[in-house]
């Protein structure tokens, strides 16, 4: 049994006529100890998908139309509030994009980690454990740091504290929603290294949301590429990077600047990401796709398994 199985998840913002489909038929799995990357442009539904695992998207305005999110075999969408509070932190922990905004500005960082411990491991809610966690995430002199306020720490330190908070409850799955976007490159590398090291030491699974394909190569076992609320391609990371199959993935990879190249301009995908509620009929990528045919706009293509473990939402993936 997989740790996490998302099956045909459909979620709207709003109801009835005004409903906007934010997630449409998203399915993927994460096994215990596995790292899965969720890649896509801004607004494609990555974050909403990730927040749904803990049912953290406020309902209303969100509205789950169909599908299941099985965490340890139990459907998160059917859980009571008490059950949800147990799995939040207990099974799945989150690290967010802006470490500065994720920490409460008026509390010392030690107390914020203590809060996480009190909720899930109350017998361990003591200073020794907090110091051990801060050491684990590589904070120097943790004994004095626990008395610091968040604003006294650098961005990288704040993100380490956030990771310590997330780890305090010993989750099975760590969801990291663009954990390095707000940090500069050297700190990015440190945080990512920390995450993969912790993953090996603690044996937890990671769902990493990013739009940086470089990170995918370093971190991921498998990758799900999202476009306009749907999964466009799902594949083992190395295979996907070596040989992308979906035209969107290909276009995405082509727009990564090469270190050694003689191109004068960066190549970009023509057109814009369609806005939610204004999706084109049929394949949502068709208007920007180089291999699009008239029949692409007829009906939404299904996600098909083209090779073992490789799923593509495009019937013409062999073209070009």
């Amino acid at each position: 049994m997989n740790l996490l199985e998302i099956k045909n998840l459909k979620m709207d913002f709003g109801k009835n006529a005004g409903a906007l489909r934010a997630i449409d038929d998203v399915s993927f799995t994460i096994g215990a100890g596995e790292t899965v990357c969720l890649v896509g442009e801004s607004g494609c539904g990555k974050t909403v998908t990730a927040l749904s695992i803990g049912k953290l998207v406020p309902t209303p305005p969100a509205h789950y139309v169909g599908g299941e999110i099985l965490l340890n075999g139990q459907d998160v969408l059917q859980m009571s509030n008490d059950q949800l509070r147990n799995i939040r932190g207990g099974v799945v922990s989150y690290v967010f994009q802006e470490p500065g905004a994720s920490l409460n500005p008026v509390f010392r960082v030690g107390n914020q980690i203590r809060e996480s411990l009190k909720l899930h491991r109350p017998e361990k809610a003591n200073n020794e454990e907090i110091i051990r966690l801060l050491k684990l995430v590589g904070i120097p002199a943790p004994e004095s740091r626990i008395r610091n306020y968040p604003f006294e720490l650098s961005g990288g330190m704040q993100q380490r504290v956030m990771i310590a908070m997330a780890l305090a409850s010993e989750p099975k799955l760590l969801v990291a929603d663009e954990p390095t976007t707000a940090l500069d490159v050297t700190i990015q590398a440190q945080i990512l290294e920390l995450l993969s090291e912790l993953k090996q030491r603690l044996g937890m699974a990671i769902l990493l949301i990013t739009h940086n394909l470089g990170i995918v190569g370093d971190m991921a076992d498998r990758v799900a590429v999202m476009y306009a609320g749907q999964i466009a391609e799902l594949a083992p990371a190395q295979e996907l990077l070596r040989r992308p199959l979906h035209p969107y993935t290909k276009a995405l990879m082509a727009s990564v600047p090469k270190l050694r190249g003689d191109a004068d301009r960066l190549s970009a995908i023509p057109g814009n990401v369609p806005r939610i509620g204004n999706f084109p009929p049929g394949c949502r990528f068709a208007p920007r796709c180089v291999i699009a045919r008239p029949e692409c706009s007829k009906e939404i293509p299904r996600l098909i398994e083209v090779e073992a473990g490789r799923w593509v939402r495009c019937p013409f993936w062999q073209a070009s």
Binding site: L56, R85, G89, A101, M165
Partner: protein, 362 residues
């Protein structure tokens, strides 16, 4: 223009906690510090009222109605208190020559309870002789020492402000926090209720609320009733502001982070959202205390508050509403001066706190 701070001073500042920074900025505001100092003195005096007051608040001396203030005179190294006796005509007093008594400190006098529970008889000053009184602020129509009543009254008037604020702000914060956090119909119901309370003129609300309580009550009950009435009116304004702040705070990522850890809604409100409003609340509380003190004055002035013979600043002022009294016995206005000083001190302190809490003014 100030010289640019060097790197080392910037670092030194960053290491201070928010409260230390707040205190540093407050210290620079002299008027606010003076206001705070005055308040500390006033509250200390109220705490030791029984000890400082030479007489009890209900000590009648009908021979000495409307006696003007008696001031001790310095004779050599001692203070001596002159004696007056009733002269011809009503409330006219004549100095008795060469009849003085030395003013003693720490004299034995009437029984009182220090802090309300320690029995004591020692008073700060007095003549030790009931027939030779010392009335620093004169007496009222029943010959009761105005200073003593002022001191006993300060126990009530000053504590009503603090307890009232604690009560109404606690309710206002929790209700406002719930309203803003959950929004939707919870918010609608709570906010319409607030507006209902705020739309009724306060004075009518006070009087009609007073009528819901039995007409005769013990002084403790009256005291509790005044606090309940004033808090009942006061929470609505606080709840509205806190609700507005919560609406923006709940969108902050640290609230999502707390939820993602499995924290409950109520604890998120109390532990994460409300503490972020404290800098505003402290300022608002300081600036609101005068309304509670004045609210007690209004109730007692209308005769529905603290009842005679118990003293409060409000019911002492009731005696001063007669213009003839005011002309002839201006010392009856002493509680007015006390209210004036207290309210002003709270406003000075509150203004300073507001400036200090505003980080943009650094």
């Amino acid at each position: 223009m100030e010289p640019a701070p060097s790197i080392s001073t910037i670092e030194a500042k960053a290491l201070l906690s928010p409260w230390q920074l707040f205190w540093q900025r407050l210290k620079r505001r002299k008027i606010a510090m003076a206001g705070g100092g005055i308040l500390i003195v006033l509250y200390l005096i109220a705490l030791f009222a029984g000890f400082i007051a030479p007489y009890r608040f209900d000590d009648l001396n009908t021979d000495y109605s409307f006696h003007p203030p008696i001031w001790p005179k310095l004779q050599g190294f001692h203070f001596v208190v002159p004696r007056y006796e009733p002269g011809s005509g009503t409330f006219v007093y004549r100095l008795v020559p060469n009849d003085t008594k030395p003013l003693h400190f720490f004299v034995h006098g009437d029984n009182y309870k220090l802090f309300g529970f320690i029995p004591a008889t020692i008073h700060l000053f007095g003549t030790g002789d009931p027939h030779h009184p010392v009335y620093l602020l004169g007496t009222d129509q029943f010959g009761r020492d105005v200073l003593s009543r002022l001191l006993y009254g300060s126990e009530i008037s000053l504590s009503i402000g603090i307890i009232g604020i604690l009560l109404s702000f606690t309710f206002g914060m929790i209700i406002g926090g719930i309203s803003g956090y959950f929004s939707g119909w919870t918010d609608t119901i709570i906010m319409r209720l607030c507006e209902l309370i705020m739309s009724i003129p306060a004075l009518y609300l006070i009087i009609s609320l007073r009528n819901t309580f039995p007409p005769s009550m013990s002084s403790t009950q009256v005291y509790a009733m005044i606090i309940i009435i004033l808090s009942f009116i006061g929470w609505a304004g606080m709840a509205r502001v806190i609700r507005g702040m919560t609406l923006s705070l709940r969108e902050q990522q640290f609230v999502l982070a707390a939820r993602s850890l499995g924290q409950s809604h109520l604890k998120i409100i109390v532990r994460h959202i409300l503490p972020n409003t404290f800098s505003y609340v402290i300022v608002a509380a300081t600036l609101s205390v005068p309304y509670y003190i004045l609210g007690e004055v209004v109730l007692s002035f209308l005769g529905v508050g603290i009842q005679e013979p118990n003293a409060s600043w409000g019911n002492m002022l009731t005696a001063a509403q007669n213009t003839e009294y005011l002309q002839n016995y201006p010392w009856l206005l002493a509680p007015g001066a006390a209210i004036f000083i207290t309210v002003l001190a709270f406003n000075f302190l509150g203004d300073g706190l507001r400036d200090a809490a505003d980080t943009k003014s650094l």
